[in-house]
């Protein structure tokens, strides 16, 4: 089966040809349809840059990026993104924030007016899926950080993207909220079955959520190691204390330490 996301020897340099920063070099990554891949690596290794290449926000300097069988040449509307910052619009209430992509992505854009009730129902379903039922008319600044991130996940999903890109969406949350949202994310994945690329610096998070974890080297980033996570879903937080789980986290950590030493 052909990969849904195919990155072949991607290089990306910010700024000028000579003086610019080389963020990615020879980065190769394949993600199958419906697969959940986590990308981990030392800070500044170009994880977020990788996301931007896949989403079509930054053109790569070399190599090819293919998503859903088509070469990436610009932003793709089949992608849903969530970031570390909640990036909610403060003048819109939760449901209007969640429905924002529908005002942009076709064919929803032209149908929104006619089928509004259907779309509102869809947004409400998503909100209950992530545990935000009843908060639809609240404004983002009336919500806690964790709730804003739940709303952001809904916004990333509302236009039914085939590919979900998560750029450290739980990074700014406290430990308890974070673990709670892992479970929310797992619910979402089991319910909607999107292809997911998650960028994170939290190894437990990566192993808990992903089918496969990929380790990137220090800048310029490329893939240096990968581990399949064999645990079946639905996983529970107790699983994270099992020795098999700890062994994978330990293995990933060693590779990242090695990558950091090589860079230093």
């Amino acid at each position: 089966m052909a990969a849904f996301v195919e990155l072949d020897r991607i290089a990306l340099r910010y700024g000028g040809e000579e003086s610019g920063t080389l963020a990615l070099l020879d980065t190769t990554l394949n993600v199958k349809e419906g697969e959940f891949v986590a990308v981990v690596g030392p800070s500044g290794c170009g994880k977020s840059t990788l996301m931007k290449v896949v989403a079509g926000l930054w053109p790569q300097s070399a190599g090819t990026a293919i998503v859903a069988g088509r070469e990436v040449s610009g932003p793709l509307s089949i992608v849903g993104m969530a970031f570390q910052a909640p990036t909610q619009l403060p003048w819109r209430n939760v449901i209007d924030n969640v429905m924002l992509p529908l005002e942009i992505v076709q064919p929803h854009r032209s149908q929104l007016r006619a089928k509004r009730a259907m779309y509102v129902q869809k947004a409400q379903d998503l909100l209950s899926l992530v545990g935000l039922k009843g908060f639809d008319t609240k404004f983002p600044w009336q919500l806690s950080g964790g709730m804003q991130q739940r709303a952001q996940i809904c916004r990333a999903l509302i236009h039914e993207p085939k590919l979900l890109m998560l750029d450290e969406p739980f990074g700014a949350l406290d430990m308890f909220t974070r673990e709670e949202l892992w479970n929310v994310m797992q619910e979402v994945v089991m319910d909607r079955k999107p292809t997911v690329i998650l960028v994170t610096h939290d190894l437990r998070e990566a192993v808990y959520l992903a089918d496969r974890v990929v380790v990137m080297s220090a800048r310029p980033g490329r893939m240096i190691h990968e581990r399949i996570v064999p645990f079946p879903r639905k996983r529970t937080l107790e699983d994270t204390y099992k020795p098999e789980f700890a062994e994978i986290v330990q293995d990933l950590r060693n590779h990242i330490s090695m990558a950091r030493e090589q860079a230093a």
Binding site: L57, F83, P90
Partner: protein, 284 residues
């Protein structure tokens, strides 16, 4: 047990509240009353000073003398104030339309920004006093130069603020929309403009007050009607109380327009001033 614990605490709360707010009932009422108290205080101080030192009217008229002068000349003052209000609001309205359009253009395109900003700065540096005679040569003495001066002086703060609001959209927010395939027009409409609204309304409050400066400036230099003209005529007759009556009427109009702008601001951009209103909701 629980009721015994809370029983002695209960009367303490009303007692504390009563001690903290003796006259105005609540802090909010005090905040509302404060501007009026300051104004009344200033006028009282003014009246007393003038009387105690027996300052002659043509140097500094007392508030009561100004009031008498206002009552005496009321029809003329209101007629001229109406003219000034008209030219100011007219010029201000053009400034809103023009300033908003130019602000969006400058804020959303670095090309337009680089091209126009130096010229705008240079233009704004020109004292408008120097422009009025030219306007009078072009359009003759009357309403038009006052409207144009009010416009010229008040559009700049609007342009700068709207441009700033649009240009400072967070990159992540832009990425969220760009990743969905949004065109730059979508980004300006969905994010840039709403985000610039608090900046826009803040600039309106500045712009409306300087618009008065513009039209009165034009009226003082050359016109046949308006508060500016009235004050020129009055001062040439050493009728200082009438000059002051004109000043105070202008100040009153300025405050009134500010209040209107402020009302629109709180109605339309309540989300941006949430810090001030949140205290009332904090109890929940």
């Amino acid at each position: 047990m629980a009721s015994m614990d809370t029983a002695p605490a209960a009367p303490a709360i009303p007692a504390r509240r009563a001690r903290r707010t003796p006259i105005f009932g609540s802090r909010r009422n005090l905040e509302r009353a404060l501007p009026w108290m300051v104004v009344i205080g200033i006028f009282l101080f003014w009246e007393v000073t003038v009387r105690v030192f027996s300052i002659p009217d043509f140097i500094l008229p007392s508030p009561t003398a100004i009031w008498e002068s206002y009552l005496r000349w009321q029809p003329a003052i209101l007629d001229n104030a109406g003219q000034t209000l008209f030219t100011t609001v007219f010029g201000f309205a053009i400034a809103i339309v023009f300033g908003l359009a130019l602000g969006v253009a400058i804020g959303s395109s670095t090309l337009v920004y680089n091209g126009l900003y130096p010229i705008l700065i240079g233009f704004n540096a020109i004292p408008k006093v120097a422009v009025v005679p030219i306007l009078i040569i072009w359009f003759g003495i009357g309403t038009v130069p006052a409207v144009i001066t009010a416009f010229l002086i008040s559009f700049f703060p609007i342009v700068v603020n709207v441009a700033t609001g649009i240009a400072t959209v967070e990159p992540e927010l832009r990425d969220v929309l760009r990743a969905l395939g949004a065109k730059s027009r979508d980004i300006v409409l969905k994010v840039g403009l709403p985000r610039a609204m608090p900046y826009f309304f803040a600039s309106l409050k500045v712009a409306i007050t300087v618009a008065f400066v513009g039209s009165i400036l034009a009226e003082t230099i050359g016109s046949n009607k308006g508060i500016g003209k009235l004050m020129v005529v009055a001062s040439s007759r050493f009728d200082t109380p009438l000059v002051f009556a004109g000043l105070l009427v202008t100040a009153f109009m300025g405050v009134a327009m500010y209040v209107i702008a402020n009302w629109f601001e709180t109605r339309m951009t309540g989300w941006a001033t949430r810090g001030m209103t949140q205290n009332q909701q904090a109890g929940m």
